[in-house]
């Protein structure tokens, strides 16, 4: 769970220090206090969301919205559930084992769906050039072109000169 979440946050562009999962049993009040104090210090150092990451409000909102969409999408839920089942079957709960499986099964999906959601949301605001898309999503050219092509195949977007725009419904 933590690994998958971390990978999503990484693609959103957030510092992974902002999310921490830790353990303290009921009898470990001092340890608990230490965890909470440490974590608060870390966040204080990082500043408000987006500051240490160098992300503006608008971009942050765009990306988190895409992440939200991704996390509730049935394709992601299914992949996530299958991965959990696979882990249980294999009985391999080492951090490396989990991480490599997440890398293999979830990361491509996360990357693609996040980018697609971002592109769709940007396009819904009107025509945009590919450079703007690249700048706002932080993706590479090779990643974004197949997505635009797939969307245009579905008839959702079209290219007009240098600009991409949502296709009018006839």
């Amino acid at each position: 769970m933590a690994e998958a979440t971390k990978r999503i946050l990484e693609f959103v562009g957030l510092k992974l220090e902002r999310f921490r999962i830790d353990w303290a049993s009921a009898a470990e009040a001092p340890l608990f206090v230490k965890i909470v104090t440490d974590f608060t210090e870390t966040i204080k150092k990082l500043g408000p969301l987006g500051e240490a990451e160098g992300l503006g409000r608008e971009i942050l909102k765009l990306r988190l919205e895409a992440a939200r969409e991704l996390a509730s999408k049935s394709r992601f839920r299914a992949a996530y559930g299958n991965l959990a089942r696979e882990l249980k079957k294999a009985g391999d709960y080492s951090p490396e084992g989990i991480s490599s499986r997440v890398e293999q099964k979830l990361v491509p999906l996360i990357k693609k769906e996040l980018l697609e959601a971002e592109v769709r949301s940007l396009l819904s605001q009107g025509p945009v050039s590919i450079d703007t898309l690249l700048q706002k999503t932080g993706a590479t050219h090779e990643d974004i072109v197949p997505i635009l092509e797939a969307l245009s195949k579905k008839g959702k977007v079209e290219k007009q000169g240098d600009l991409w725009q949502p296709r009018e419904k006839e």
Binding site: V12, D22, W23, V33, I35, V36, T40, I43, L46, L64
Partner: protein
């Protein structure tokens, strides 16, 4: 420092939540930036919760099992 972070914490009812309780009873001092959500088990937590937390403006998310 002027910045007061908003931290959302998900605590397990049986572990961290109880630890927080006993920390209070023992009068340990700790920062007041946490907003705690108690869950019956850390296994209840889903990636969606964490993302939603950041989306609605948390500066950090702590999961305590």
């Amino acid at each position: 420092m002027g910045f007061d972070p908003k931290i959302l914490s998900f605590f397990c009812h049986w572990c961290c939540y109880a630890a927080a309780d006993s920390a209070g009873v023992a009068r340990y001092q700790y920062p007041p930036n946490n907003r705690v959500i108690r869950v019956m088990c850390t296994g209840r937590i889903d990636p969606r919760f964490i993302i939603e937390a950041f989306y609605v403006g948390a500066d950090g998310v702590l999961v305590g099992g």
